[in-house]
Symmetry: C2
Subunit: 160 residues, 2 copies
């Protein structure tokens, strides 16, 4: 298995899914914590220059979440519920307030690569290719890349 040092972002050709993959110098437990501890999550999610305010957060199976990201004075709200939160996988729903009828089903997997490294894979599923491709055109890769770079620095700094 090759190392994935940059974030890989792929659109599935057959189903309306976006997948990402990236390796981190962290254990699965650390990556799980970075996705479930609200104070940690707020430090890395989103593009550079964004500050994130957590408004609701119960990262457990059947819980729910809501946060607002502030970028250059504009607020962007997101919310969803946690379908399942377990050490190797989180499944949650995701809606952007700006598109209130749009819903993605998101899955994150924490795959232990050994030697203190973990592959983070994600999948976002929506109900049409039009919605999926609108997400891809929205510049989501900036948020993903910037966010994971911030997460990598937090890990290197021993903050996770």
């Amino acid at each position: 298995m090759n190392k994935i040092t940059e974030t890989v972002i792929e659109a599935d050709p057959k189903v309306p899914v976006i997948r990402t993959a990236r390796d981190f110098a962290a254990t699965p437990e650390q990556l799980f914590r970075a996705h479930t501890d609200p104070a940690l999550f707020a430090q890395w999610v989103g593009p550079d220059g964004t500050s994130t305010r957590i408004e609701r957060w119960d990262a457990s199976t059947g819980g729910s979440w809501r946060y607002v990201s502030v970028h250059e004075g504009t607020e962007y709200g997101f919310h969803g519920c946690f379908h399942e939160v377990r050490p190797d996988r989180i499944v949650q729903t995701f809606t952007f307030d700006g598109d209130p009828d749009g819903v993605a089903l998101e899955t994150m997997w924490f795959e232990d690569l050994g030697d203190g490294r973990t592959r983070l894979r994600t999948q976002s599923l929506v109900d049409s290719f039009e919605s999926r491709d609108a997400w891809l055109r929205s510049g989501m890769e900036v948020g993903v890349n910037d966010g994971y770079a911030k997460l990598e620095r937090l890990i290197a700094d021993g903050a996770v």
Copy 2:
């Protein structure tokens, strides 16, 4: 718009989605209640001969649910979270205990047809055609048809 007196069940050709549609002699408010009141829901969901035990039920945005259906002595558990519960639409996740890694994103719409009639449309989205087609082969249409027939009788009896 034609009346839909039998349940229409369709597999989308392009995305891994199952859709259903059926008209009821009920208001949107009544159909909403039949899907959110646990005592009512337990009376109609599932195939004939099934009894349903609600184990967790918070039918509100960010809530969660779990029920067990008992059919000929065998228990079948299902669970998920409520992404959004609003008068015209419910979005929730859905997992069958027998396939714990499988997750569907389900949407129900209550469309007012006027004259005390409502069209109930549903959509189940999964992440592969294989999973979708396995659902279709599982005999799900029996549960859907039997369930909606029970719901229709409850409505006719004034129980909703």
